[in-house]
Structures are given as C-alpha cells and as structure tokens.
Point group: C2
Chain length 138, copies 2
Amino acid sequence: MDENCIFCKIINGQIPSTKIYENDYVYAFLDIMPVNKGHTLVVPKKHSKNLLEDDVEDLKHCVEAVQKIAPAIVRAVEADGFNLGVNTNKAAGQAVFHTHFHIIPRHEEDGLRPWPQRKYDEGEIDPVKEKIIKALEK
Amino acid sequence: MDENCIFCKIINGQIPSTKIYENDYVYAFLDIMPVNKGHTLVVPKKHSKNLLEDDVEDLKHCVEAVQKIAPAIVRAVEADGFNLGVNTNKAAGQAVFHTHFHIIPRHEEDGLRPWPQRKYDEGEIDPVKEKIIKALEK
C-alpha cells in the first residue's frame, strides 16, 4: 500500500471503482475514461510503480486474470477482439504509477489506427541486436 | 509446431530472424517493421493462435522474459520507457496468428499518440459492468 497511490486507494475501497473481478492477488475495474466501452484495468494488489518493479509472481497472476477476464469483456460488449497493453514510464503514456494492464475491447472498423511502422536501413538492424544482447549480459 | 505458421518457422530456424533472447519456452527477436528501433517480439515456442488459447504457463514464461528483456532494450536504444502489447484477433490488429508480445521502446516526444479516450454517459457504466460480471460467471 502506497498512501499516495490512487490505485491502492481503489483496491482498499477508499476510492470507489466499478469492480468487475478480484482475487487474492489482482483487482480489475472499468477505466472511467475508456478507449472503447468495457476498457478494463487489471492491477496487482501489491503496489509497485511499474512492470519492471513487480514481483514476477504478481505479473503472472495478472496474465492469468487477463486470460480469464478478457473473453468475458469481449462477449459482454460484443467485441471482435482486444488489445492488452502495459505502459511503462511517462514516455510510454503511463499516467498512474501503479502497474496496470489495459484490456481494450476492439470492434472491426472502430477507427483506432495502429502506430506507423518503418523499415531498418541496410545494415542497421544488427548493431541494434548486438547492443541489446550486450545489455542483457549486464 | 504449425507448419503454416511463420513464427513457428522462425523459432525452428527455417526462416531467419534477428534473435535477441531464447530459453526453453520463449523466443525473442526484432520486429523487422519496427514502430521504434529495438521493437521486439516475444513469442511462446509452443504454437497457439492467440493469447486466449495459450497454456497459462506459457504466458507466464512470456511475462517473465519481458521483465528480463525490456530493460535491456530500453538501455540499448537509450529509450525512456516502453509499451508492452498483445493484439488478439484481426480487429485488434493481430496479423500473425501465433501469440506474440510486442515490446516497443519509447522516447519522450517520439510523436506516437495514445488512442483517444471518452467518458461514459450518465448511467452507462453500470450495465457494462453487470454484463461483464454475468459473462464471467459462464
């Protein structure tokens, strides 16, 4: 419990939420500012500021809950699929610093566009690979 | 192994890839059409067409690998954060039907915009919650 964390306050009931699921490890509630209706946040009950700082067991509980919850969301809002997303750090759009998995139900032709992709220039990809492998060794 | 699956062919070496990490359960390689340089795909070695069909243990191996790999990617490309994403079904932008976790490194001011969010109308959120809870009971 972080006393300044809005999601910790939601989990312990100090702040109301629209809860759809809860177990010993995770709490899931509707995002009040949804990308599409049914947009849900799945959060580990134990506070951590982002995915890199969670106990891995808590992340595993989250994905287990996602696998259970997401199909129910898809059925409930008659969606055609969903995006699972976790934003880490402000640069990635993280706004609340308590790890949360977004489940965003999607509909054919809902108008949401994927981010543009590009190609690597000739000879550009291998140095990127080498840097990552070197960083993994540290 | 699905003989028609491009990711299964990458995992078993029939198709070349820029591998950055591998263990008994997962295989991670650079997306050749990155949103940002260092964009990586983490895939369970065992074929399944999407996240809902994976053995939950394989998803757990994937998040464990993400927690290990993502910080190395961020350091390697000098990013400020990252998005983790899994697209399920065509409506959600899934293009290869073998479960994959996208790790997209992000930079302050990289110009990638989040999807627009809206509000629920008065009285609109509770029926959505009730439908999801009912669907969860099935």
